[in-house]
């Protein structure tokens, strides 16, 4: 009944008109969507895809700042090391390197006569560098070496020789060393002499003008005991303990301003004058000074001084060693 009523509401033309209107409206909506909204969605999708790609690339390169900072830091540190090193070593060592010259100069100062042997030269590294005018130049680090034999010398003199050579330039170093006394005669061994085979090398830059020989500085003194010399064997010589024993046995019996009389171990009286040497047993001693109950004696040859403190009877009660000034 109702349907019939609706069906009868519009004429055929009117229904067609209505359908057309609805279609047109739908077309407007669709076209609006296509022309206004869809491009935005397309742009969004494109942006999203591109953003994803960019973010992936960013993630890939995310370590770049850290790498750059690290590389910069390393580069600065290495440059500083290289600059400092290149300042220390000589340039122009390809032509007449001054290594032998330094050795000869130091040896002459010490009166050594080393026998020079094989001379070597080696290119350690090749690298390119910008010159001041912007040109790229190839440079080389090189090393020259020289072997030398010292046939017979005091060990401490050899130390002085090495010190003189090594301190002439930081680039000079000992590459090989053999020191011994087995090939020497008994007399030389007893005198603390040694033979030495030394290989010296010098680091430098090959390019540049002829290297200026480094200045040989004052050669260091070595006044230590020569370890290749006679050992201090207990009982075989007069050791520190024996000296002390002898000194402790002294009894001062008379004192003047510049001399004294004393009884020494083993019996006997000795008159000692200031600055003069006297003999106690097998030991040469010198009376240096005296004040009150304290007397200073020096063991001739060794330079060691001993301060003797006596009691009211003149008997030595304390022995102290003191350094010679």
């Amino acid at each position: 009944m109702n349907g019939e009523h609706r069906a009868t509401k519009y004429t055929k033309e009117q229904a067609e008109m209505l359908a057309l209107l609805v279609l047109m409206g739908c077309a407007v909506v669709v076209l609006t969507f296509l022309y206004l909204v869809k491009p935005n969605f397309a742009a969004m999708a494109e942006s999203k895809a591109e953003l994803k790609k960019t973010e992936a690339e960013i993630a890939q390169l995310s370590k770049a700042p850290v790498q750059l900072a690290k590389a910069k830091k390393e580069s600065d540190a290495l440059t500083a090391t290289i600059e400092k090193g290149e300042k220390a070593i000589l340039a122009g060592i390809a032509v007449d390197p001054p290594l032998t010259q330094v050795c000869v100069e130091v040896a002459n100062k010490l009166g050594l006569k080393p026998a020079f042997g094989v001379q070597g030269s080696e290119v350690l590294l090749e690298f390119k560098e910008r010159a001041a005018d912007g040109r790229q130049v190839t440079r080389h680090y090189g090393e020259v070496s020289r072997t030398l034999d010292v046939l017979s010398t005091d060990f401490l003199s050899l130390c002085r020789f090495l010190s003189g050579v090594e301190k002439a330039n930081e680039g000079i170093t000992v590459a090989h060393l053999e020191i011994g006394n087995k090939s020497l005669g008994e007399a030389d061994r007893e005198a603390g002499k040694v033979t030495a085979k030394v290989k010296l090398s010098m680091l430098g830059i090959r390019e540049g003008e002829r290297a200026t020989p480094p200045e040989v500085k004052a050669i260091e003194e070595f006044d230590e005991r020569n370890p290749f010399g006679p050992a201090k064997v207990k009982g075989a010589g007069r050791g520190v303990q024996d000296i002390t024993k002898v000194l402790e046995g002294i009894r001062v019996t008379a004192i003047w301003s510049n001399k004294l009389i004393m009884t020494v171990p083993g019996g006997g009286n000795i008159e000692a004058t200031k600055g003069e040497t006297f003999v106690v047993g097998k030991m040469k001693m010198r009376y240096v000074s005296g004040a009150g109950d304290t007397f200073v004696f020096e063991i001739a040859g060794s330079g060691k001084r001993y301060r003797l403190v006596t009691n009211w009877r003149g008997q030595v009660k304390k022995v102290e060693e003191e350094e010679t000034k």
Binding site: T8, K9, Y10, T11, Q14, L18, V22, G25, V28, V29, T32, V37, N40, F41, A43, M44, S47, L51, T54, E55, L61, A64, P65, Q67, L68, S75, L78, T81, I82, G85, E86, A88, L125, F127, K128, E129, Q136, Y141, L158, L162, K167, E170, T173, V174, L177, E178, I179, G180, N181, L203, E224, R225, N226, P227, F228, G229, P230, A231, V233, A236
Partner: protein
């Protein structure tokens, strides 16, 4: 009074429509539906535009970041090329003609150069000082016979480089070579270069021979 139309229904509607614009009445849900659709479209447009703009801005910012990162990466690569191959890797100190060198090598080779400088200057052994130190450490009972730089004994140490051998003998004293070794170990100048000390003792009839092997690590 009751009005009765005697006209057919179509004619009746037509008549009513003629009275209005289209000549017939549009159902109410149609303009409502279109209105809702238009509002929805506009909302979608607005939102999508905003979102697209925001994405576009984010993309621009990301591209700028990427460009900076690329620049930094390029700088890092340039610097890395200046540094040259890491020490001990491809590209070699021993091959000045450049054969076999790593791809990243501008030729400046800062790493190799610094290594040469470090090995020969900073870690340099000043032998006059080392010999002086050996002299100072040597007990008075000991008499040396040899100080020699020799090849490292294999199997005893894992170190590298050369080995310093100090040989000598003593006639009296209780193991002075151990005192000597302890002094060597305690010396800062010696310990800067040698960390491992191995004593070797050989008693003879009237003396005791010994050797102290000093090796790096």
């Amino acid at each position: 009074m009751i009005e009765i139309s005697l006209l057919p229904v179509d004619e009746q509607v037509k008549a009513k429509a003629e009275q209005k614009g289209l000549g017939f009445q549009i159902p109410k849900f149609i303009p409502k539906g279109f209105g809702i659709a238009i509002v929805a479209l506009l909302a979608m447009y607005g939102l999508s535009h905003l979102k697209a703009s925001s994405l576009s801005r984010a993309l621009t910012s990301s591209k700028q970041t990427l460009s900076e990162l690329k620049k930094e990466s390029l700088q890092a690569q340039t610097l890395e090329a200046r540094l040259g191959p890491p020490v001990g890797k491809a590209g070699s100190v021993e091959q000045p003609n450049g054969a076999g060198q790593a791809t990243k090598d501008s030729g400046e080779r800062l790493r190799k150069r610094a290594e040469v400088v470090r090995a020969r200057l900073e870690n340099r052994k000043v032998w006059s000082e080392l010999l002086k130190e050996i002299t100072l450490c040597c007990p008075e009972e000991i008499r040396l016979t040899e100080i020699k730089l020799g090849a490292l004994r294999t199997g005893t140490t894992s170190g590298r480089g050369k080995e310093l051998v100090i040989s000598g003998y003593y006639v009296t004293g209780v193991n002075p070579e151990m005192i000597f070794m302890d002094r060597l170990r305690g010396s800062a100048k010696i310990a800067a270069h040698y960390q491992r000390f191995t004593p070797m003792t050989q008693p003879e009839v009237d003396k005791t021979d010994f050797g102290i092997h000093c090796s790096e690590q």
